[in-house]
């Protein structure tokens, strides 16, 4: 039974792509079949894995059914699979926004495409752009779980309120099975009090949604993309590798949605 996850937060630069890549990689190292999907017209996930998005026919061609899944999907070192995003993803989003006014069915394009291939995997993880636009709404209209990475900084709580409201709206309007799967404290700095104060506030606000695992600040996580590698291929003994391994175990043990 596949688990479909959208890594989502309206705020920029909080660590969504880093989470999607390394959590996916860690799950694969536990033996799971994993598919990562780059849903960001900025192609960060695509580039983090060392792929050049120029001249690339990416996930946008699968969503529109122009090309078959097998013609677009790639393998990261024969470990996990991923759908890169190409230059046309931006155009697709603009088109969806323009058509949405007239054709509400625009928000099920992703669902209709992925229903055909989801059974090939144990986990499908969508890396969303930092926006509540059509691509994000499409992903939220399909997935079961939202993973919300929250930076351990001032205003962390406030930033996530809008994200929660969007999840609620999509759940009510389009996808009753959608739920907040996990809130993950990221860029946690054990050396300073601010981080632990923020985690405490997150705990009061989110209770059991908050993962026990905190992804600590670790420069190796920032360096790995420069080599087109996951943290496990770049620095397997780093804090970043340890934390994502721990998070993957925690995720695998979560009770799945109905």
């Amino acid at each position: 039974m596949v688990r479909t996850i959208a890594v989502f937060n309206l705020k920029g630069g909080v660590g969504k792509t880093t989470l999607a890549v390394n959590l996916g990689a860690a799950l694969q190292l536990m033996g799971k079949r994993v598919l990562l999907v780059d849903l960001d017209p900025q192609h960060d996930l695509t580039m983090y894995l060392g792929v050049n998005p120029a001249q690339l026919k990416g996930v946008e061609y699968f969503i529109t059914r122009d090309l078959k899944f097998a013609e677009i999907v790639r393998s990261y070192n024969h470990r996990f699979d991923f759908l890169p995003s190409g230059k046309k993803l931006r155009d697709l989003e603009d088109l969806m926004s323009a058509l949405y006014v007239n054709y509400k069915k625009m928000n099920f394009l992703i669902r209709d495409a992925f229903l055909h291939i989801e059974q090939q995997y144990d986990y499908i993880i969508f890396d969303c752009p930092p926006a509540g636009g059509q691509l994000t709404i499409n992903a939220l209209s399909y997935v079961q779980d939202v993973f919300l990475p929250v930076q351990c900084q001032f205003l962390a709580l406030r930033g996530s309120k809008k994200a929660l409201f969007l999840i609620y709206r999509v759940k009510t309007l389009f996808n009753p099975a959608l739920r907040l799967g996990a809130v993950i404290p990221v860029m946690y700095d054990p050396r300073n009090r601010l981080s632990s104060v923020i985690v405490e506030k997150l705990h009061n606000a989110y209770g059991d949604y908050l993962t026990d695992t905190k992804i600590r600040i670790n420069v190796s996580l920032a360096e790995a993309p420069g080599f087109g590698k996951t943290i496990f291929d770049y620095k397997p003994f780093s804090r970043g590798a340890q934390d994502f391994k721990k998070l993957a175990r925690e995720v695998a043990e979560m009770p799945a949605g109905e």
Copy 2:
């Protein structure tokens, strides 16, 4: 002769608001008359200075000329002034986007409002949202200089290309006086090689636009907003305080635009 500056970058979480607040504060400590403008519907600058945006009639009421400048402007401890952003700023942006199709003059609302009060200050610094929407275009249609903070991370260069293109478009269409004033390396980590590699790349790409001052990563900068203070009132001897003082001197020595 006032210097008008937009702190701008399409990427989220790179340090725009932190820069606007602490550079502004540092310039005031050099004796300059400074006005900060919160142009982000997320109100980060407003909250960084300890102001609650709920029930607040903010900069949006000045842009629409509903209220006078004196009715909205606030003072930070009798040092610099600032225009907070209130709840209606989001509505104003939506309205501007809707009207823009028909009324191109929508992008001079900020210019028309600020021309009346700019002579009261030496520096007016706009904190922009991480987006190229109507508010940002309005700010860019008015200011002389764009300050682009760039995080010392993988993909730093790539992220700034779109920002540069937007600056170029606004300069060509609406504001010939606009120019890139400075590219500022931020969140520089002296302990790891990645930062200096990125700075080198930034230097090759931006040459003299790149400031000599790099804003180092310093948790005091992240903690100060929790107390509603600038770095100088929170931890005046911290690295963050030193770096922003240095940046302010560098900025003050820049030749002003014509």
